[in-house]
Point group: C2
Chain length 255, copies 2
DNA sequence: CGCAACACGTCAATGGTGTTGACGTACGGT
DNA sequence: ACCGTACGTCAACACCATTGACGTGTTGCG
């Protein structure tokens, strides 16, 4: 087939659609995000997106090679929004912490899209900017390249993995979400001490802790471990705050 | 519509299919898992499953309400298999490490099912057994309840989140999977040092590291951090192995 | 300033998907 | 032996992403 997608830079003409809109890559991405936000991830189909744009569904293929390319564009948009306004302070632990929490929070703001986007590698500008920044924080902090790369990898995958995980919980149909949450009181609260002594002994703590996302604490653990690997060997970080994580309550996935 | 699924207990008659097989819930689950394992994640469709069973595709609906019910049955099977044969050694770090790697590996063997399973709380016996075991490892090791619960939470969510993340990469259609992998050489290898100095400086390391899952190293970091929080304060763990993780190469999600 | 090239929105068609209702056969309980 | 029905099969539906062909209106250029 002949490639029908014209690169964004070299477009020349625009014709309005049936309903008068002039299409663009940007308009399509924003409409798709809105569609997902308002009507759920399953609402994103070529046909429905066309309808939302007031255009023929196949007009999409003038701007994106296929739906996967559109999805990558959505993913990159999320990454970009997560970084807007972020600046490095020079304290590598504070910088990684704020970056991780921003990514996590921004993805959770669009759970349905996050679910589709969090496990892709786009290679698009917003993504490369994020990679560059995180690597920069680590190398500037004095980590040797090989170690910086490994920590970068663990850090990024953990942020995205938790984002997808928590987004999945938020994106569940309400019935399933409440069902999963109720399991803690319907099942775990009633497990007898003779068969499940550890669960029985810690149940109140357990039920309370599982209400929120495990990410903030997991992130602190990663930062603590990274500090022990830092070249300035003896530097000991402050013990990660044993307080509850702030912010809105997040339903939690998994047991 | 009339419910056409007969509960497993009260089935009465069986007739062989075209190719002589006698269907059952168990046979269907095992065939589906085999299908995913042998022919890739995308091979699981109702029509192909029917063909693999030697039956009409719609015979499925005599045993499962819909494909989602089938996938949940697959998921339940996975939880059990991940723990089969696991035993505690008394070394809490080794025990958590083996448990985490087992969960991760078992889920990755069936990416499609893992994707649906990893973010649900089932409260079923296999799940409660896993919770009890992990909590047991931590409390037996001497962690106070509140801390044990928090570490448990981070550990479990990390294992499931990475499992889902890596499973998602494996479950992608082959074209998208190869595309994501290729981005590293098509885009990141070519970023100029003046705009992306840190990526340019570390590229070979970066490309090599991103080929595998970030989970094994992220898990080591979690264990290191947990050790620093252990009541026997001064106990210092061996530095996490800076060697590459063993095992099969896993395509990697996210940047 | 006018015109021709072609970008791009549209239409029609293809082959995939999950799912449902109707049907008949052969098997079980009586 | 014979009924009732479980269950395997068939045909059809609605939806999906994607492609090739087509004509029109915009725009760059002479």
């Amino acid at each position: 087939m002949v490639e029908r997608v014209i690169p964004e830079g070299s477009r020349r003409r625009r014709r309005p659609t049936k309903q008068g809109a002039v299409l663009s890559e940007r308009l399509i991405v924003e409409t798709a995000l809105r569609l997902i936000e308002e009507h759920g991830a399953e609402a994103l189909s070529v046909r429905r997106l066309g309808a939302a744009l007031g255009a023929d569904p196949t007009a999409l293929y003038r701007y994106f090679r296929n739906t996967d390319a559109l999805l990558l564009a959505l993913a990159d948009e999320l990454i970009g929004r997560a970084q807007d306004g972020w600046t490095a302070t020079g304290d590598w632990r504070a910088d990684l912490r704020s970056m991780g929490l921003r990514i996590h929070a921004r993805y959770l703001a669009h759970p349905q899209a996050a679910l589709l986007a969090a496990h892709r590698t786009t290679g698009r500008p917003h993504e490369t900017r994020a990679v560059e920044r995180i690597l920069g924080v680590l190398r500037t902090a004095g980590f040797q390249d090989a170690l910086a790369v490994r920590i970068y990898h663990a850090f990024v995958d953990q942020a995205l993995a938790f984002a997808a995980q928590d987004a999945a919980a938020l994106a569940l149909p309400p019935a399933a979400r409440e069902g999963d949450a109720e399991v803690w009181h319907a099942v775990y609260a009633k497990l007898p001490p003779d068969t499940h002594p550890h669960i029985a002994a810690t149940f109140p703590l357990l039920a309370a802790d599982m209400r929120d996302s495990g990410y903030p604490f997991a992130l602190e653990l990663l930062l603590v471990a990274a500090a022990t690997l830092h070249p300035d060997g003896t530097q000991t970080p402050p013990t990660p705050a044993p307080t509850r994580s702030p912010g809105p309550v997040q339903p939690v996935p998994g047991p």
